[in-house]
């Protein structure tokens, strides 16, 4: 490996239990996707955090522009009826 050439960055998503969604856990460097899975396993699931791992090249992630925050998020602020706070959640329902 060329010394100036670092391994590309991957974003790591871990599903902690069956039925839950994958959650962003952090990022790691790896030469390719299969090495990224192993690195993610070694770095982020040491304490039984996961049952499934996704990795994706960080360069493939498209992020929203902070400058657009007003246009994107402001309109939702005064629409409280969109929040599920007008009914009670039964105790048996977990992970909602």
């Amino acid at each position: 490996m060329n010394e100036n050439q670092e391994w590309p960055l991957f974003e790591v998503f871990i599903r902690s239990r069956q039925g839950l969604a994958h959650k962003h856990a952090g990022s790691i460097h790896a030469a390719d996707a299969s090495m990224a899975i192993e690195h993610a396993r070694d770095v982020y699931t040491r304490r039984q955090e996961g049952v499934s791992i996704w990795v994706v090249r960080s360069s493939e992630v498209t992020a929203s522009d902070p400058a657009d925050a007003e246009a994107l998020f402001e309109p939702a602020r005064d629409k409280i009826y969109r929040h599920p706070t007008f009914y009670e959640i039964p105790d048996e329902v977990k992970n909602l």
Binding site: M1, S34, E38, H39, R41, D42, V43, R46
Partner: protein, 251 residues
């Protein structure tokens, strides 16, 4: 059960995992990348975990009240019965990973066979260790392939490591009276029967890595009989010094 042979057999398994685990721990803080640092440390901790079960069991077989710590920290070099390969120095990352792949492939076959041991305790320890070993092998084999099939330099380095370490693998399959007695009681497998499976596994990796399998050669040290290379003494000195200076020290 006063069973000197069984004790020696279990100590060989335990010491092989312990010394290899200690070797890998030497990489902590020095690995080529943070991710590999953690990978090597994870494998090291798995091996030391296996050691704890095995040494505890060895202490019970011996029946003199020695604990896992007593056996790990208070025995001298000639009493260690690990395979000589695992005490060989780390060298560069390539050498560490070649050593690891050769041992992982062996432990895969060994633990798989030990699952059906007539010794229930060993069978249980082997079943747990096998799951960990599958990951160790995947990790080390992938690296051997990447480095062997990598740049000219990485290829040359892992081939050199393979050439210098290969002769130690003969000890894996050379059965002595302990191995034979345990095979007769169906406590352990016949080592000769493990060899073809190991060989096929290793050949697969070497082929994909574009590495040449070295010729078999006589090996100079009989680690499992307590005859070690000059490297083990230094490793034990480092591993045991704290416990010997502060007996019973704990976190």
């Amino acid at each position: 059960m006063s069973d000197e042979t069984r004790l020696r057999y279990v100590l060989r398994l335990a010491d092989t995992s312990l010394v290899l685990g200690q070797r890998l721990a030497e990489w902590v803080g020095h690995a080529p990348a943070l991710e590999e640092d953690l990978g090597l440390a994870n494998t090291s901790l798995d091996l030391i975990g296996q050691t704890r079960f095995l040494l505890t069991y060895a202490g019970e077989i011996e029946g003199r009240g020695r604990s896992e710590d007593d056996l790990a920290y208070l025995r001298d070099q000639a009493e260690f019965l690990n395979l000589a390969l695992v005490e060989q120095p780390n060298g560069d990352f390539g050498q560490t990973i070649v050593r690891q792949m050769l041992v992982d492939a062996f432990q895969l076959k060994l633990y798989d066979a030990l699952q059906s041991s007539t010794d229930r305790r060993l069978a249980e320890i082997a079943a747990k260790a096998l799951k960990e070993t599958r990951y160790h092998f995947r990790y080390s084999a992938n690296w051997v392939i990447r480095l062997g099939d990598g740049t000219e330099e990485s290829h040359a380095r892992v081939q050199a490591a393979l050439d210098s370490l290969w002769r130690f693998t003969r000890e894996f399959f050379t059965a002595d009276e302990v191995d034979e007695a345990m095979a007769r009681k169906q406590v352990g497998p016949s080592l000769a029967q493990l060899q073809p499976g190991w060989s096929a596994r290793v050949d697969e990796v070497l082929h994909e890595a574009g590495l040449k399998r070295p010729a078999d050669a006589p090996y100079p040290w009989h680690g499992k009989r307590g005859q070690h290379s000059e490297h083990l003494g230094y490793l034990l000195a480092e591993m045991q010094s704290l416990h010997r200076a502060h007996p019973g020290a704990s976190w």
